[in-house]
Symmetry: D2
Subunit: 142 residues, 4 copies
């Protein structure tokens, strides 16, 4: 399945390019992160201001790079939660050219709920899980 219920547009910046003249590999993580931030904001789960409330830490990421990205290309990041555990969740993300949907990179990300005040992993709030499950139409894992 290659479609997403949420896409985040990305404007490629000149400063995203490296000495090869295409977007540096580290910026793929930046684009993926921005996609997740805007996904959470879109679902009303993060206001973008109280950063310390966002409550997730990146545990694992796999990226398959398919095509270089160049300045002037229209890019979007598709975001989809595919597994919704009690303490962690799995997100699939594509970086695509827009509007063609040509895949530049595909990624699988595991996030763990984390309380930045007590510096410990915690349970994902149930209300939060329900909103995501409903949006994605996936079951809540007990």
């Amino acid at each position: 399945m290659d479609t997403f219920r949420f896409y985040c547009p990305i404007v490629v910046r000149f400063s995203d390019l490296d000495a090869y003249g295409h977007v540096n590999n580290s910026r793929y993580l930046t684009y993926l992160e921005q996609g997740r931030v805007e996904y959470l904001t879109h679902l009303g789960l993060w206001d973008g201001h109280s950063v310390l409330e966002s409550g997730f830490i990146l545990a694992d990421v796999h990226i398959a790079f398919r095509e270089p990205i160049r300045l002037g290309q229209d890019i979007r990041v598709g975001v989809r939660v595919t597994r919704l555990g009690r303490k962690s969740l799995q997100v699939e993300q594509n970086i695509e050219e827009s509007p063609s949907g040509q895949i530049k990179a595909s990624a699988t990300v595991v996030l763990v709920a984390y309380d930045y005040h007590i510096l410990q992993s915690v349970l994902i709030p149930e209300a939060w899980r329900e909103i995501v499950a409903k949006f994605e139409d996936i079951p809540l894992k007990k």
Copy 2:
């Protein structure tokens, strides 16, 4: 004078924030650079692909920081060429909140025409100068 004939919208990324939770000072230069890149593209003076043809090197920059920038704020960069010499040009740029126009930072930048193939400063092409002079309605300095 606080208005510009060209504005470039900037999407603040989570990764632009530093440990203080606001946009890091180095990103102001990134935003200003992006404003100039899109200004040149808008005037048809750069296609965004043949980077080595763009022909300018940053010689001098002054930035007055007025207000921190936060995630979720709508930002734009105003760009205006204010002096158009034979080998260099001066650009005034504001980083503003949009649509209020509240100034986050104001900058003055001097660029020198540069040939990246021969690694030397060169004359600005006359056709290039005429397009900018007409757009800004400023005189061509001989």
Copy 3:
């Protein structure tokens, strides 16, 4: 096996931190890239200047994040080529605290030999393969 024949020291910069006050996840890719650059330089396979001769493109990366990295910590990146094909190679890399060796993240990276002039994947030069195989004491895959 947790030891490497090559380590690259990394100085954490204030600008590597994000709004959570620890090193942003995208910088892990930057640290890993820097480790590979210095590995190639150390083996005399790249002079650091003729970027377009370096000849590799990132195809695939997996990162397991173990511990956050903070400003003031001494960090090093271990680099080891673990598979040496004719057109691609696999690299294992740890980001560790130094000198304890505490693992901050471990990564597996696949690189493909690439000619940036003709924009195509190419064979890894045989002399190049021999130098790496000798350094790592691993067989050359035919």
Copy 4:
């Protein structure tokens, strides 16, 4: 005067380069910032951990760019406090090649003491001013 009582070494990263193959202009601000962070750490005025205690905000910066910086060059940032007011201070900084001292860029920076908890400018602590004045051998401005 071109000498400093404090220098901070900088390791140029591949990811500091832009599409022109030299260090991007925004990284000059990153290098200058790192120089100030290590200056404060060297004088015992910042522990590098309690970021919110560092208490300065960038108000104004001027950079004169002299020479491009390339990968593989040894770089250092000279840092010198040249004016020590009650609420602000002025810092002069050079980015130089090491050990030749060839100047890549010179900058003048104005910092304002700032309390990140109450989001207001504050007085620089007197003990803090005395340590800097003694290190630089400059008078305390009343």
